[in-house]
Amino acid sequence: MLKRSKLDIAIIGSGPAGLAAAVEADRRGVKNLVVFERDELPGGILRQCIHNGFGLEKFKEELTGPEYANRYIKMAESAGIDIELNTTVLEIEKDRTLTSVSEHSGLRKYECKSIILAMGCRERPRGALGIPGTRPAGIFTAGHAQRLINIEGYMPGEKVVILGSGDIGLIMARRLTLEGAEVVAVAEILPYSSGLIRNVVQCLNDYEIPLLLSHTVAEIHGDKRVEGVTLVKVDTDWNPIKRTEQYVECDTLLLSVGLIPENELSKQAGVLIDPKTGGPYVNDCLETSVEGIFSCGNVLHVNDLVDNVSNEGELAATGAYERIKGKTLGRERIMEVEADEGVGQVVPQKISGDRETIFYLRVKKPMGKMVLRVGENFEKKFSYARPSEMIRLKIPKKIFSQMGPSVSKLQIRCEER
């Protein structure tokens, strides 16, 4: 029989979401908690993000990824929080029994009062895009290349084309250039960058790397190693425009074409997934459809700022704490939150209205001056909005109180003004 232990809170993942959740849970007095980390060190993907720009909100200073992670790792260490490294969670059951495996402790089972999912996300691979062409060596996702360079000290290529202008792709364009590689171009299928504007300026413009908007890779060439790619201009429906093909010689193609919340474990446990975010449906305490299972950070929805990820971790820990203390989580009254006109996705998708609530949402397409409306009695004006920049909207409790008890649906929509 497997060794079984009981836990108050199990946290899966020690990236920024998991660490913040652990520190917050400990601060509230939960001591019987374990953080499970499959990698050899805590910190998650921040470990390989050696550029700066992290923590402007949380710490009011600009930190690198590892520095940001270390702030939390130190807090966790001084609190004596148990982080199980090199340990993979194999399974979560609906009754919150968790099975883990590691070289040092073998298989273990834990019966948990609460579980906080903080597994992060993965990169969309080439196969999922169906980029035509051959299958040579030299095709990497941007994050894989980032790990090779920043953690392993390896150069993935010398002459590089990047497909997709997601933030990791932009950061990698600069990183590769600084390491002596030539970044020929960044191709983006959309007519605007899918990364933050500051990254386009600081990582491409400053190094004179061309950003080819409305372009994609029509074909990959090369038998053994990548020898080149054909770039092509696309129309508004992403169809290639004839006679705009250009062959570009390169030995490497980097893909920065989207991140997918990694919810395989969540689904095993029966957690329902919102197709819009790719993450679980959650309430205002970030509790999923399965009682006692919470979700935060990039496994909930892909964030662009780590500070928000940490905030979500803290909120999930608060929810988990309340759950194990037997407090009701505002399930008496539930309002369904709906991403309506112009809004691509929103978290949380269900709220009680009995507390101040922060909505994280993204617009569907770039907009100029616009107004965001939440239900009938709240609106906020914005000078612009872009899908690449998540909007954080704090709604005070009194707004919900003003809504009659019969209101069961809350639509969030935006209009140009």
Binding site: H104, S105, G127, R135, F140, T141, H144, Y154, E219
Partner: protein, 499 residues
């Protein structure tokens, strides 16, 4: 397993039979031959057995209901499922008996099913049943409502061809077959009345008998033997792989319509994904395994017609394989026969269903060798293959515990998507796998939904460390396909890599 490195025209050795091509068919022949007394060699131009078309197979074992009555391929495939089940036990390999249903979506297609049943039975197969819509729905709840009848057979199944090709080769080598990888044949000369001199990019081999099992390149090998009249017609087929999370959509191999342009086929894989195929086009050349957007869309349409719930966003990868037919046989049949010009040389010109027929082909080749004068005397001792790679992911919990107790590295998950452990990766490398693709095909590390983004750097390090080579020398699939090009400014052999 022998490593492919040297390029000097060294003398590699003398043997009774040399098999050109270590695909699934060459490997099957090599293993059957290794039961006999004598010296045998297996040569392969790629870096690893099965790295030609075998790794791009649908990996399905069929019944010969789509082979013309009386055809050679029909005869050789007659009892394929039973043959593969037996081999699976002998080689400790995985054969997943999922069964197959050939569906009729229109009234006029029902007749096709009866004809198929008749063809299959005339070719020697048994176990067919014509089923109606209720039974179809019971067996396949997500299949299209349009399915009105089906030809069902329980025994056909799926396997993973690269894994089998490797295992057959490994077992042949264990029983004395010499294996030369990365050895492309550049010339075949008749040395005297008894021997051929086969020149490869790795050196020369003297052999009395030559088996041409070179797949897509068998026309070129035939020409080197003096049979310049053998030509191949090529077709490129695109296949899509879907995430395991949607595997409940299809439980059996499901077939729909067949034409020059497609074989409508959606099925579970041996590892629990779904595979969908096959849309055919003419390739530019033998190396053209590229996949176009149109190929993907056309293939997807085939699947959606049989299983409407299928979604493109659940596709994790696409690939293509090249099929060939030859001009020596009619109706796309196999041509397995002694050379018309070169004595003691045998051509194996297969095509679909090459995998299904492989055991039958191996028997036939040995019969032909005997007819040509080879003395077939069985060895006293034939070594059965040592245990297959134990897989952590599919083992029950109690077995998992035992695996970790025997080797704690089974507790370290390297590939999170497929739950492949460090022990499995190291095992494979120690048993002869020396490329990133080799590790991927044999252990599945890198085969899952992230396609190696997370585990790629670990696999790279395990290959470098276990093989004792610098990481810059590690390749994806043999010479020229290096994974990384060098080190960062502060990296290097003892730099940032060591943390």
């Amino acid at each position: 397993m022998a490593k492919a490195q040297s390029v000097s025209p060294a003398f590699l050795g003398e043997c009774d039979v040399v098999i050109i091509g270590a695909g699934i068919i060459g490997a099957m022949i090599a293993r059957e031959l290794s039961k006999l007394k004598g010296k045998f060699a297996l040569i392969e131009k790629e870096a690893f057995p099965g790295f030609g078309v075998s790794k791009a197979s649908l990996s399905q074992i069929h019944l010969p209901d789509f082979c013309p009555i009386g055809s050679l391929k029909g005869k050789l495939s007659a009892n394929a499922p039973q043959r593969f089940k037996k081999l699976a036990r002998e080689l400790d390999l995985h054969y997943r008996e999922v069964g197959e249903i050939w569906l009729a979506l229109k009234q006029e297609h029902i007749e096709n099913l009866w004809e198929a049943k008749k063809r299959g039975e005339s070719n020697g197969a048994r176990g067919y049943e014509i089923i109606g819509p209720e039974k179809i729905r019971q067996l396949e709840p997500y299949v299209t409502k349009k399915a009105i009848a089906g030809l069902y057979a329980k025994e056909p199944g799926v396997l993973y061809t690269p894994e089998w090709t490797f295992a057959l080769t490994e077992n042949a080598v264990q029983n004395g077959v010499s294996l030369y990888l990365g050895a492309a044949v550049t010339g075949i000369d008749k040395e005297d009345d008894h021997y051929y001199k086969v020149t490869t990019t790795r050196g020369q081999i003297r052999a009395r008998y030559v088996i041409n099992a070179a797949g897509l390149y068998s026309d070129e090998i035939a020409a080197l033997l003096g049979d310049a009249d053998i030509h191949l017609e090529l077709r490129k087929g695109t296949m899509l792989i879907f995430d395991k999370s949607v595997s409940s959509l299809v439980r059996h191999m499901l077939f729909g319509t067949f034409s020059e342009k497609h074989s409508q086929d959606i099925a579970p894989t041996a590892h629990g994904n779904l595979i969908l195929g096959v849309h055919y086009v003419k390739p530019r050349n033998k190396k053209d395994t590229s996949v176009s957007r149109e190929n993907i869309e056309e293939t997807f349409k085939l699947g959606k017609e049989l299983v409407p719930a299928l979604r493109e966003k659940d596709m994790i990868t696409s690939f293509s394989g090249i099929l060939c037919t030859n001009n020596k046989a009619s109706d796309g049949d196999f041509y397995i026969a002694p050379s018309e010009h070169a004595p003691r040389a045998i051509h194996v010109l297969a095509g679909a269903p090459g995998l299904t027929a492989a055991p039958g082909i191996a028997d036939m080749v040995i019969r032909l060798l005997v007819e040509q004068g080879l003395k077939a005397e069985e060895k006293k001792v034939f070594h059965t293959r040592k245990e297959s790679f134990p897989r952590f992911e599919s083992a029950p919990l109690s077995k998992k515990e035992k695996m970790i107790a025997s080797n704690p590295k089974y507790g370290h998950i390297v590939c999170r998507c497929e739950q492949v452990t460090e022990a499995e990766v190291i095992n494979a490398i120690k048993r002869g796998v020396d490329t990133m693709d080799g590790v991927k095909h044999l252990t599945r590390a890198g085969m899952g939904r992230c396609q190696g983004s997370f585990c790629g750097s670990s696999v790279l390090k395990y290959l470098a460390n276990t093989l004792g080579i610098p990481a810059t020398k590690v390749t994806k699939k043999g010479a020229g396909s290096h994974h990384i090009v060098g080190y960062t400014k502060q990296g290097g052999e003892s730099g940032a890599g060591e943390c």
